[in-house]
């Protein structure tokens, strides 16, 4: 199993406040890795460092065993790291289709001049983006929304659209930030299936999630963060029986779900 995404003893400080301390993580091809932990454990911070939004104080992040430190987020994204957001952040005034196409464009070459004169490459790229976007909308089961403005979509579909937009980048690793937030049990089950489907489609997934039942059901490997430190890592079953984790979550597990 090749490690696609690897985070080596990552430390992140904000003005002396330590958000992450010596964190080691990795995501291998074809797996669903989960990152769990109580609120404020620093899970989202990991995403922000990995995607290049923050520069880590110490440590290294590498994609395909090639360091991405100091690269701009858009470069990292095009190298194969796509994410969704805890609080949904779509391009509200663009249609669902355009949202996904924007993601798909990242795979294309055509520049501005090409677009003006409508060179053959540009036309091909447009077609490509369009078809890829359409496929993804179908894949996420929201093809019927393609013509609607993102901000007018129902909550669930917005979450799905965000995932579709991220997938459009054809990432090596897909980072999902609490995708199940605000879902009812039924939707959560569907989502679980969906994430598996995504994995099977050949995308590795790193998942931040509060809902333990979901995490335990779908993930192949679970890492636990607490106060910015990794306190455990292992298969769901190992984690469930891990004393440290239980202490950290002491009674949190239930009402978090």
């Amino acid at each position: 199993m090749t490690k696609l995404l690897e985070v080596k003893n990552l430390t992140m400080e904000f003005g002396g406040v330590v958000a992450l301390k010596e964190v080691n993580l990795h995501v291998s091809a074809g797996e669903i890795a989960a990152l769990i932990g109580p609120n404020g454990a620093g899970k989202t911070t990991v995403f922000n460092v990995v995607t290049g939004y923050y520069q880590p104080t110490k440590g290294d992040v590498s994609l395909n065993s090639q360091s991405v430190l100091g690269l701009k987020p858009n470069k990292i994204a095009r190298l194969g790291l796509a994410r969704t957001f805890q609080n949904i952040r779509l391009f509200g005034d663009m249609t669902a289709l355009e949202n996904v196409m924007t993601g798909a464009d990242a795979r294309n070459k055509v520049g501005l001049i090409g677009s003006i004169f409508g060179t053959s490459t540009s036309r091909q790229d447009e077609k490509l983006s369009h078809s890829r976007a359409a496929e993804l909308l179908t894949f996420m089961g929201i093809s019927h929304r393609s013509g609607q403005l993102a901000r007018n979509l129902p909550y669930g579909d917005q979450r799905r659209l965000e995932i579709a937009r991220a997938l459009a980048l054809e990432p090596k690793v897909l980072l999902l930030d609490e995708p199940a937030a605000g879902f009812n049990p039924q939707e959560k089950v569907e989502l679980g299936e969906l994430i598996k489907k995504i994995r099977d489609a050949g995308f590795a997934v790193l998942l931040i999630e509060h809902d333990m039942s979901l995490v335990m059901k779908i993930s192949d490997r679970v890492s636990v963060l607490d106060f910015g430190q990794k306190i455990a890592e292992g298969t769901p079953s190992e984690i469930q029986s891990n004393q440290k984790v239980i202490d950290a979550y002491l009674g949190v597990v239930d009402n978090a779900s």
């Binding site: 989202t44 922000n48 939004y53 957001f85």
Partner: protein, 316 residues
């Protein structure tokens, strides 16, 4: 390029720079306060200032003072001046509140794009300028000499005349007062709360409408006082008096970090001095170029102004 003047006249230039800066500061506070709570460039603020100048002028006429011939006795002066300052403060403050009510409130309620509010503000500004142009016959109006301009004392080439001293003391007094209001009163806390995070503020039961009106009132009153100081210093006004001063004051606010009160103050004094120094070194006509080039450099190294913004927007 002539630096020798800068040295020989340094103290004089510095004093005037600070006096001008003090006037800028009072106006730029209006921009920065409003920006803090609304994220809006209150384009019509310069006209609020202009209204203040004409209020002072009107009172001088009511009191029957004209020309430069008889400086008032110091006692009488203070009475008259106080009345003028208060009147201008009230007039400007009221018109600022009215402005917010007419030009911004409805847009804000509808959660409109801030640019729409900006255009609304520009429209309001056109309206006010034209209104005063027509009613004042587009003339320059002179303001009576209320105090002798003979220096009370001087440090090297810096001549401290009464009006300069009064402006400095007055401005600093007002800034202190504002600081008290913002930090101790309930509405002041409201302003800070809304600046930090409007939604939460609402949840905490802050009456946003009242806070915003109060913010405009504060900004307006400060501009009003500034206008009286301005009249005392320059002794004339015109319908378009606000425009140039407004740009300078807004620049100062940005220089210091818009939305940040301390920033606005420091920015104003820095700008006031910059304009003085640059205009003797390179010539008055290059003054604004120098100012803006320096502004660009400041922002390049400190992208949110000298003091940064008080309000950090929530990220990701």
């Amino acid at each position: 390029m002539d630096f020798s003047i800068l040295w020989s006249e340094f103290f004089g230039l510095t004093l005037d720079g600070i006096v001008v800066g003090a006037i800028y500061a009072l106006v730029s506070l209006g921009y920065t306060l409003v920006y803090g709570v609304l994220r809006l460039i209150n384009f019509a603020h310069s006209e609020i200032f202009m209204i203040g100048t004409f209020t002072s002028l009107g009172l001088s006429i009511v009191f029957g003072y004209t020309g430069l011939e008889e400086p008032l006795g110091i006692v009488l002066f203070f009475f008259v001046f106080l009345v003028m300052a208060l009147a201008s403060g009230i007039a400007s403050g009221m018109s600022a509140v009215l402005l917010e009510f007419v030009a911004y409130r409805r847009l804000r309620r509808r959660g409109a794009n801030c640019l729409s509010s900006l255009i609304s503000a520009i429209g309001a500004s056109f309206f006010l300028v034209e209104l005063f142009r027509l009613t004042t016959e587009s003339k320059d109006w002179d303001f009576p000499r209320m105090l002798s301009k003979d220096p009370v004392f001087s440090i090297s080439t810096a001549y401290f005349t009464l009006d300069k001293i009064i402006i400095l003391l007055g401005a600093f007094g007002l800034m202190f007062g504002l600081d008290r209001i913002i930090n101790t009163t309930r509405l002041g806390r409201g302003i800070r709360a809304v600046s930090q995070d409007e939604k939460t503020a609402i949840l905490m039961g802050v009456n946003v409408d009242r806070v915003i009106s109060f913010t405009f009132l504060l900004g307006g009153v400060l501009a009003g006082f500034a206008s009286t100081f301005y009249m005392l210093f320059y002794e004339s006004t015109k319908f378009n008096v606000g425009f140039l001063l407004g740009i300078s004051a807004f620049t100062a606010a940005v220089l210091g970090g818009i939305g940040n009160i301390r920033g606005a103050l420091v920015g104003s004094f820095v700008l006031g001095l910059l304009q003085q120094y640059s205009s003797v070194v390179l010539g008055y006509n290059w003054r604004d170029v120098v100012t803006f080039v320096i502004l660009v450099f400041v922002l390049l190294f400190k992208p949110t102004g000298l003091f940064g913004e008080a309000i950090q927007r929530a990220r990701v």
